[in-house]
Subunit: 201 residues, 3 copies
């Protein structure tokens, strides 16, 4: 189970790195800029979570596999950009599984350090969405998730589900599976039905 | 005394959250984006201070009341926006008391960890103003306090006052009171007389 | 040797502070905004490195000389701006020596905490370039190093050189000297020959 989550975590990192590298398109970035953006997009959320809960050094500094996953994402973007861009649906699926796993792992890490469950849910959401916020800020955009479709909300709902099911399910795998399904279901339904949160005006 | 400061700290957090939620106005943010901005505006300064001085996990993760104060600020903004906007003077007063208390608490925390007094004064100012800097950066604006009226300067003056009076006053309450008055006086005088710092050109 | 590196570190901090204070030109910043920018430009990279590797409180809070170097840079910018701006070549030299020393000191600090050499090279580069990234983000620009001439790349090459030479040279001074020369050589050659990294498209 942990091995499976770890593998999905690395795949999510790879997918986030591609999203970061692509954010440079049309902004005349060079390959270093694109790699920098890929990096902060992929590990920015987990880094902010680790800083807030005081789990230092941050996770990716202690495991070179995250760096490798990110560089692989940048290389793929550079050479296969024209083939990647049309794969929107594939991306959407991996991205959604990615944020689900980021949410679960982030929440688990916070709970393990004795953080209050409500704050742990927030830390799960932070792990999943803050990398994208930093990516957008560095490329001089107002963060997409501040106005976009249901995204962070899906992570929060998944976190609540993970917490509640944890009380009744003796098997972590069941809990993880349900949480991932909740997050995928909310995102898919939100896009199908064009759900959006009310604006602040 | 500590209880009083804690209460004002929560009120300051509530007022800062409203200022963050309002920052989204006219930028087409949804309620999640507004809440995110409210959060970083209210706790961003204290978070950066805690990170710099190494007091982790950061304060608000360990006390759910800050989250409650922030969510209350967002809910008020959402439902009572039309009534809040005209209350400029009320806001100004609470905001000024808020930055005064943020300065004092931030400085005290740094001093308690053995930080050099000059750096502790800076940490007090950071606690008070950095949340607004992050709010402005996320909404794609050059931070207001980089060009606005005397604001951070008032916090620094208050911090110096708090430090100096601490040598002669045996009563913390006197010290706190004088510091709050110094900060309020500087801000009010600065606005009345249109004081501003020289530009850098 | 350590004393020499420390001195160059302070000079680099002074030069970076001037570059930060000048970033405010034309943006109507006041002297506080310019000082804030000078500060984050000068210590931003080392701060992010210290946070990531968990070396808290961050370095500059424990040594008032960095604050003094930064304030000296701001004062110089304010009074001698017209004389400083034409000194482009002098600046280029000090800036390049500065990033070289920032790279070496950052890498050494990470290695001393048991960080993997590849990550330590990255931490050296982070120490040298992230201050500029924060400066550009706060002034609402896409970071210069995301599209500019060879800059971060020179730091990475210097870091690799520092690591490799460390295996064969028993004298740190030789290693430091070679690394500084590598970084200067790459930057000078890159500008002379208009080298640039490939774009990401």
């Amino acid at each position: 189970m942990n091995q499976t989550l770890y593998t999905i975590d690395l795949i999510g990192t790879f997918v986030f790195a591609i999203s970061g590298a692509l954010a440079g398109s049309g902004k005349k970035l060079d390959i270093f800029g694109a790699t920098f953006l890929a990096f902060v997009t992929a590990v920015g959320g987990g880094t902010v979570r680790d800083l807030l809960i005081g789990s230092l050094p941050v996770g990716w500094i202690q495991d070179i596999n995250y760096l490798i996953a990110i560089l692989a994402g940048v290389v793929c973007t550079y050479f296969f950009k024209r083939y990647i861009l049309p794969l929107k649906k594939t991306f959407f699926i991996f991205d959604t599984i990615g944020i689900a796993v980021f949410t679960i792992l982030g929440m688990n890490k916070a709970l393990g350090l004795g953080v209050h469950p409500v704050m742990a849910i927030m830390m799960g959401m932070v792990s999943a969405v803050v990398g994208g916020v930093i990516r957008d800020t560095l490329t001089n955009e107002i963060p997409l998730i501040f106005r976009q479709e249901i995204y962070a909300t899906a992570c929060i709902a998944g976190g609540i589900s993970f917490w509640l099911v944890g009380f009744v399910s003796p098997f972590p795998v069941v809990n993880v599976g349900i949480t991932i399904l909740v997050i995928i279901a909310i995102r898919v339904l939100a896009i199908r039905n064009r759900w959006s949160l009310p604006g602040i005006g």
